[in-house]
């Protein structure tokens, strides 16, 4: 076991997988940093420091710094994957799916099906998502609901350094296309990371807290907030299951349904806006599949149906907070 930051877990996993499998290729903007400058390559290593040292070790054909051309980045990953490589492309911000969506949604996510199951497209698209830095409406979004809605791509959302390693290793080895979403506000988070090689299978949620009274389903940065709320409520004798989904597509439906069968009460905590969201997806799942168990209306704690505002006061109000989560849990418990 080593203590390391979330961002270090990303870097070390990329490093390990590139060493293990020479088909692994990484590409993205400034992932080398310093190309074409007096300072020279590796002056940076990615703006999130998740690719430092890869270029020096693996060279320019496997660590490809690209122009600002996200469609071409994702498209190149698609072509590399079809040609038998294992590309890991980086979108600096998840918001840039806007300029590259076709290649994710209509290309990478559809090849296998359109081509009759006769090909694989093992591309990984990493992207930094989420709010918390007052980066405003175009650099703070949590786009996982949009991507989860799209058949053919798997969507992975690690919340801890240990999960980063296990899930990213799985993503790179997985034969299907994977979106790997790293929360910007977690990059500096420390955690224990098991030594050696391991993978975490997709579609297996993690039970972070166990309790009998309410099921809290969440993911990414929100996990920590929910754990804190669960701990606070536990002191009062209120028991919460806190489920970290880890992957939203595939999603561990059984873990959610099993828990709700016991608790009868559901709260979903989701950093995205509410419409056609993961929160409503899970509410829909539970209502259709565990209706008889449900004792109260689900509490959905989401961002509002607005773009993400800039000012500190506004952004913090925009985001789910421990206070709102706690209120939702209490409201669910108080029902009837």
């Amino acid at each position: 076991m080593a203590q390391m930051m979330y961002r270090e877990a990303v870097l070390q996993t990329l490093f390990a997988e590139m060493e293990r499998d020479e088909r692994v290729v990484v590409l993205g903007e400034d992932i080398v940093g310093g190309m074409g400058t007096a300072g020279g390559p590796e002056a940076i290593g990615g703006i999130w420091s998740t690719s430092v040292g890869l270029f020096g070790k693996f060279g320019k054909d496997r660590v490809i710094d690209t122009p600002i051309s996200e469609s071409a980045i994702v498209g190149a990953a698609a072509g590399l994957a079809l040609a038998g490589k294992r590309p890991v492309a980086e979108l600096m911000f998840a918001d840039f799916i806007g300029v590259s969506l076709d290649q994710i949604w209509n290309q990478i996510g559809k090849f296998r099906y359109m081509f009759g199951g006769k090909t694989t497209c093992p591309a990984v698209i990493r992207m930094a998502y989420g709010a918390g830095f007052n980066a405003a409406a175009q650099h703070s979004q949590s786009v996982y609901a949009l991507l989860t809605a799209m058949p053919g791509i798997k969507v992975v959302m690690p919340s801890t350094p240990a999960d980063v390693k296990g899930l990213l290793t799985q993503a790179i080895r997985d034969d299907d296309p994977v979106i790997f979403m790293e929360h910007k506000a977690l990059y500096g988070a420390m955690g224990e990371v098991p030594d050696g090689d391991y993978t975490i299978p997709f579609g297996h949620a993690r039970l972070c807290r166990a309790g009998q009274d309410v099921t809290i389903v969440t993911l990414g940065l929100m996990v920590g907030l929910c754990e804190a709320v669960a701990d606070k409520l536990a002191a009062e004798g209120i028991g919460c299951d806190v489920i970290d989904l880890r992957t939203t597509s595939p999603m561990d439906e059984e873990a959610i349904l099993d828990s709700v069968e016991v608790t009868g009460r559901l709260v979903v905590v989701d950093e995205s806006p509410p419409r056609c969201s993961l929160a409503s997806d899970i509410a829909g799942l539970v209502t259709t599949r565990a209706f008889a168990s449900l004792k109260a209306p689900p509490g959905l704690v989401t961002a509002p149906h607005t773009p993400i505002p800039f000012a500190r006061e506004l952004e913090s109000q925009y985001l789910p907070s421990p206070g709102k989560i706690e209120a939702a849990v209490r409201q669910t418990l108080a029902w009837r």
């Binding site: 290729v25 054909d61 079809l82 040609a83 590309p87 290649q103 359109m114 081509f115 090909t119 034969d175």
Partner: protein, 323 residues
């Protein structure tokens, strides 16, 4: 024109297969039996074949919505393609893709594509893979005079130049994107190659109705790219014999335009004329091939018509490898 007899026969045969595949589809589609949107490649045969005759299965191509010709030229199974267009479970994509989504990675055919311009970045990726392998292989992306206006195409060209990817941007200028003329939609007027040149690539041009022009041009382009000089672009002037899609009344054509191109810009006629002129082959050999090809297409249609249909359960398979 240093082609062997066998090579000449093969090239003609490939062009003829494309031609008859399409002429037959044109007829079959009118009966309503074939579903979906079909874009016929007829008229452009010299391009697909003049390019692909230089390639082996480790060279990769990326195609367009008008992909039948590229697929056949690159070696996709003709009967499997016909079955696919018929929507059979035995189609090359099990009936899931249809005309716009034919692919066969094993022969280096990385997919037709319904999204105009989407293929170019994919080609760059394939080329980067080839570069990494270091065996002198290339990727060729086919684009039309319409597709060359899509942002992805431009991004791909710059990315290929920057990364020195062995990628060939091949523009088939058939002068139309759907119902719009290239003189309107490409700001540099009919000239796509000059724009590619603006991205810092060496460019070539050729006559896309003349197999020999395409073949000879491509030899140069491929020598250049295989030698590691990075990407290149090539534009072929060619013709589309049918409408944009089947059913298009083509009111945008000039009077006599279609008759003229059928008469003077027919890749098969031109091939025959040039072969006869240079006495490269006895022309009856080509007649024999014609007969063979017609039989092949007849058989392909018969088999496609009789082939098993997909079942409801097939809808749910092939999304992922591991679920």
């Amino acid at each position: 024109m240093q082609l062997s007899r066998e090579a000449l026969i093969r090239a003609y045969r490939q062009m003829k297969v494309i031609r008859e595949f399409e002429e037959r589809l044109h007829i079959e589609i009118m009966t309503g039996e074939i579903a979906g949107f079909t874009h016929l490649y007829c008229g452009q045969e010299a391009v697909a074949v003049g390019v692909c005759e230089h390639l082996d299965h480790d060279d990769m191509i990326v195609s367009t919505h008008r992909g039948h010709g590229h697929c056949i030229a690159k070696g996709c199974d003709v009967k499997g393609m016909m079955k696919e267009i018929w929507g059979s479970a035995e189609g090359i994509c099990n009936g899931k893709g249809g005309s716009m989504h034919i692919a066969d990675i094993n022969v280096g055919m990385l997919g037709a594509n319904g999204i105009v311009g989407a293929g170019s970045p994919i080609g760059v990726g394939a080329a980067l893979s080839a570069k990494l392998d270091g065996k002198g292989k290339v990727a060729i992306t086919f684009s039309g005079d319409g597709a060359c206006n899509q942002g992805t195409t431009f991004e791909a060209m710059n990315m290929a130049v920057v990364t020195k990817a062995p990628c060939i941007f091949l523009y088939e200028n058939n002068k139309y994107s759907e119902h719009t003329g290239v003189a309107y939609s490409v700001g540099t007027q009919r000239d796509i190659a000059s724009r590619a040149e603006g991205f810092g690539m060496k460019v070539w041009r050729g006559d896309g109705t003349d197999f020999f022009s395409v073949y000879d041009t491509m030899r140069e382009v491929l020598d250049y790219v295989r030698a590691g000089h990075g990407p290149a672009a090539v534009e072929f002037d060619t013709e589309r014999f049918f409408g944009h899609f089947e059913g298009d009344p083509q009111r945008y054509r000039g009077k006599g335009e279609l008759d003229n191109i059928r008469e003077n810009r027919d890749a098969l006629k031109i091939f025959r004329a040039r072969v006869a002129e240079a006495k490269l082959l006895d022309i009856t050999v080509l007649d024999g091939i014609d007969t063979e090809v017609l039989a092949l297409i007849d058989a392909a249609v018969d088999e496609a018509r009789a082939a098993p249909r997909p079942t409801a359960a097939d809808v749910l398979t092939d999304v992922y490898i591991s679920y």
